[in-house]
Amino acid sequence: MGARTVADMNPQGERWTAEQVLALAPDAASRTAGGKLAAHGTWSGAGAHGQAVWGLCSGSGSKPYQTVVDLNGPGYRCSCPSRKFPCKHALGLLLLWTSGEGGVPAGGEPPEWAEQWLGDRRERAGKLAAGARDGGPGPGGGTGDAAGKGGSGAAADPEAARRRAERRAERIAAGATELERRLADLLRDGLASADRAGYGAWDETAARMIDAQAPGLEARVRELAAIPSSGPGWPARLLEECALAHLLNQGFLQLDRLPEQLAATTRTRVGLTTPVAELLATEEAIRDRWLVLGRQDGTDGRLTTRRIWLRGERTHRMALLLSFSTPGQSPELALPTGLVLDADLAYYPAARPLRATIGARHGEAAGAAPPPAPPAAEGCEGSGVPEGCDVETALAAYGAALGEDPWLDGWPVVLADVVPVPGDDGWQLADGRSGSALPVDPRCAGRTDLWRLMAISGGGPVTVFGECGHRGFSPITTWDPTPVSLIGTAAQGGTR
């Protein structure tokens, strides 16, 4: 959804680092395979010019694979049969290119097969840009098609769109009412019955929420179903989540009595989204130099969701970009952590705006082709350690955000000068000066590379970006002083 606009952004003009390339890989296996292919002997006729990198990779067949990458986006094309995207050949080619050892000489014209695809791509991008300029909200531009599912074909009149939106709101309201009944029954019989009833009892409710086109409610129901098996203390957690679901139901059922911003938050929470095109057309664009603070990919088995967090240099505002893909493919949005992006951002309307989408990017002119720099040891720009706050301030930031959006599980913050402390009953991020500490979210144990954080700290203070929430702090990035992701490969391995 949000990815389409980003795919046509300007590139950062210099030769990438290997980390940036590896971050594009859809999974660990592709990363490895790409690494193996990044050898001189494997490639012939390779070259780079402007935003294009191309080469022929000798595979097991008689005919070499034609691989071409458009750094603008980036976009990939390869004649191999792999369904991974980008495939290992594209990754290998880029890795060879990043190494800067002459395996992919700069200059020269792309061969015909590469030029053809690059040309097609440029043409498509040009059309899209033209469309965005005069199209305004674009097709289906009303509040209709709120699910944001493409909507390209829906060139219907606004009246029909309004009717559709009304129908959907009614269905969601019916779903919310049903969920309210379900919760009331549960409280009447006692939470202890939820333990006995097990998972199945919730399945039907979740299915009803899907029927009601309320994915936000469905996700909450699935979470409720999992709590009774989540270990000691589950009744309190179940009551908390039931209460927040109840709060959401009530909010949606009385939407017109809520302040406008809170109503927007409520709508988003039940699963109504605003189409990107509408967002860019109606919301105020905030231009800033946005520092990419971190990235986390997650999957529910059907969809991979990539989260990228930004912070504005001037506005100091946090922003969250989402990008989606089907399993086996990499979400298109690939901003490397540490990058500083001069761009317009449009926030989704909310009482506490966080999620945003990228509009126009400034800086290097589109399509301009600065000559590839020699392999830069300093990595990408903005590799300095960002400013952060202390433990107390981080909790206060979450508390304040919660005041506006009671359903927030966490709020992104940069913690400065904290020391990781391992322990038998969980990790802490300790602030040596104040003697206070934030516990690390216990759910991080299997998915975050806390030992990497420990190794980097060496027992001394570090800066850590992550989400501060009621379960504790979830580390995402640290700096050594270049950004280092703490989202372990273990997490990605677990999703396979």
């Binding site: 395979a33 809520l258 009482a351 304040a400 005041g403 602030d431 379960r471």
Partner: protein
């Protein structure tokens, strides 16, 4: 997470609580615009709400007052929502636990950027499933050992961010441990102390690896601290400490051990004793001599083994004396060919040293006569001779073998009239004792690291037998060990000549002990032999072991020569079907790996 402390003491005293309440009331108020309801809701304790919810509102009336028209469960949920958001918004930090000490400084330079990325890739490959996706792509995990060795050669330290992955790799593969821990340096040990998964790093190998650093962490510990750690530390810490102390000052390390020796458990004594091996010196002899009377048989055996590796030790002298009584040089008896010896100079032969005159020796063809010991007395047993042979071996030959193995090799030259090792090895041995004697000499040569004797026992590669059966000379039971004692240059030449004469089929273990990268003429010999094997029409996987070895060990400079072999040749008559294509693929992979290794080397080169 329990209900009481999601983050810490969940008081609702935080300043942000009122704003939260406002937001929450915005919802509850939507259904209940009554202030009194809100206030009664907020007074109920969270635990009371949970208790009511758990049992059900039918069984227990919750401490909430429903609004008119509202049912009790909804009122309970209203109250719970308010309480939940309020507690979350009012979370306070927890008291900080004491953190670990700071990691010691590591002054070594950081890796160049490209090498840093390379290491990340090599370590990632280790954990990747389904290896060998492409037959023509290199196996990165196999390159890790030499990458580590090369990085250590340049004296780099590992990037902190990759330290956990490096330790995981070393945990899984013992062959990586020494180099990985050297690269990891003091911070690896610091980290390993915090995570039980990595406790392997605290064992002896770690001490040795870190001791080779410019500033080992142990060296900074003051003597008092060292003594305290030695007396109170965990076993792993103590082994590491001892190894480091020994490396720094063998006598001081020994003193440390001697101080507590009598109170150590037998298995610990064995481990500590074994750790003396690397920095063994003649001054250790009194201690080892005393350990020969240890209560534990294994400790005694290890002490004897260490003593026999000290050629000047009293034990070595006792062993030599015993061996001397078992062997002698004679010239009587039948000779294989040539004229009969005149026997006139029998008495003077061993004393005047004239036998170095080869002609005389050849004419007389003296033989080694062997009379193995009749018994294994208590003195022999105290010196580490194991009295009971393994089944199937005669006990006298078993004792003899142990005596010869522990006898300093230079005594043989002394006893046999100044003859050199080569001459002694060539001497016939009477009564079928040759196999036993030579096998024992091989073990002695390996244990005493004598290049001269290893060379003599190996003989000439061209005439070396290809099979290592019982009939083969004793050296051929384990030629690789003998080769390992030779200088690397000579090793490469010997193996190259062997391959030129016998081909690759028996060369695998020999190649395994050659220094990497293979020096010329060895690399050339291997490439030629592979070329010949291809021309002979066999399939490349018959040589997959050698191919794998070649990928790791060939000098990358051979890549250009090999490039010519990557073309698919025309299928010839008599060749295995499709073999040409498979060979081309195998050579492609070989060339690819060599180029990758060259790139790895260049990345690590600081200039």
């Amino acid at each position: 997470m329990t209900s009481t402390t999601p983050v810490a003491s969940a008081t609702s005293s935080a300043s942000s609580a009122p704003t939260t309440a406002k937001a929450t009331t915005a919802h509850t108020a939507a259904s209940a615009p009554s202030a009194s309801a809100t206030s009664s809701v907020s007074s109920a304790s969270w635990d009371d709400l949970v208790a009511a919810a758990l049992l059900g509102t039918e069984r227990r009336t919750p401490p909430v007052a429903p609004r008119p028209g509202q049912d009790t469960p909804s009122a309970l949920l209203d109250a719970a929502a308010l309480s939940t958001v309020r507690r979350r918004a009012g979370l306070r930090p927890a008291p900080a636990r004491p953190g670990p000490d700071r990691a010691p400084e590591d002054p070594r330079p950081a890796l160049p950027m490209a090498a840093h990325s390379r290491l990340a890739l090599l370590l990632a490959d280790r954990s990747a499933p389904g290896r060998g996706g492409s037959r023509s792509a290199p196996d990165l995990a196999e390159l890790l050992p030499q990458w580590l060795a090369l990085a250590n050669h340049h004296g780099y330290r590992v990037p902190d961010a990759l330290l956990p992955a490096l330790l995981d790799a070393a945990r899984a593969r013992t062959d990586l441990r020494a180099e990985a821990l050297t690269l990891g340096g003091p911070r690896a040990l610091w980290l390993a102390l915090l995570n039980p998964d990595w406790k392997f790093a605290l064992r002896g190998a770690a001490g040795r690896a870190s001791a080779s650093l410019p500033e080992p962490p142990e060296a900074t510990a003051p003597p008092d601290e060292e003594q305290r750690l030695w007396e109170e530390g965990l076993f792993a810490e103590r082994v590491s400490l001892l190894a480091a102390a020994r490396h720094r000052d063998p006598a001081a390390g020994l003193a440390l051990l001697g101080g507590t020796w009598s109170t150590e458990r037998a298995e610990d004594r064995l481990m500590f004793l074994d750790s003396l091996r690397d920095d063994l010196s003649p001054s250790d002899e009194p201690f080892l001599e005393q350990a020969l009377s240890d209560r534990s048989r294994n400790v005694r055996a290890t002490a004897a083994e260490l003593l026999s590796a000290l050629p000047g030790s009293a034990l070595a002298a006792r062993m030599a004396e015993r061996t001397r009584s078992c062997v002698s040089l004679t010239t009587d008896g039948p000779t294989a060919e040539g004229p009969t010896d005149d026997g006139a100079t029998d008495g003077g032969r061993t004393t005047d040293g004239l036998v170095s005159d080869e002609r005389t020796a050849a004419v007389r063809t003296p033989r080694i006569a062997v009379r193995p010991p009749d018994e294994c007395d208590s003195g022999m047993q105290r010196d580490g001779i194991v009295p009971k042979p393994p089944s199937g071996r005669g006990e006298r030959s078993w004792w003899l073998g142990q005596l010869v193995e522990a006898t300093p090799l230079d005594r043989w030259t002394e006893w046999f009239g100044g003859r050199g090792p080569a001459v002694i090895v060539a001497l016939p041995v009477a009564d079928g004792w040759q196999a036993d004697l030579h096998a024992a000499l091989c073990r002695a040569a390996v244990r005493q690291r004598s290049a001269e004797w290893c060379r003599a026992l190996l003989g000439t590669p061209a005439v070396a037998p290809v099979t290592a059966g019982d009939a083969a000379p004793a050296a051929w039971r384990d030629p690789a060990k003998l080769l390992a004692a030779l200088p690397s240059r000579e090793r490469a030449e010997w193996v190259a000549e062997f391959i030129a004469s016998h081909g690759l089929s028996d060369a695998f273990r020999l190649l395994g002990v050659c220094a990497v990268p293979w020096a010329e003429p060895l690399g050339r010999a291997v490439v030629d032999a592979l070329d010949i094997a291809r021309d002979a029409g066999s399939y490349p996987w018959s040589f997959s072991g050698i191919m794998g070895l070649a990928e790791r060990c060939l000098d990358p400079a051979q890549a250009d020569r090999l490039e010519a072999l990557t073309a698919i040749p025309d299928e010839r008559e008599g060749a295995a079907p499709g073999a040409g294509g498979y060979w081309a693929e195998a050579f492609q992979r070989l060339v690819g790996t060599l180029r990758l290794r060259e790139a790895m080397r260049a990345e690590l080169d600081p200039t």
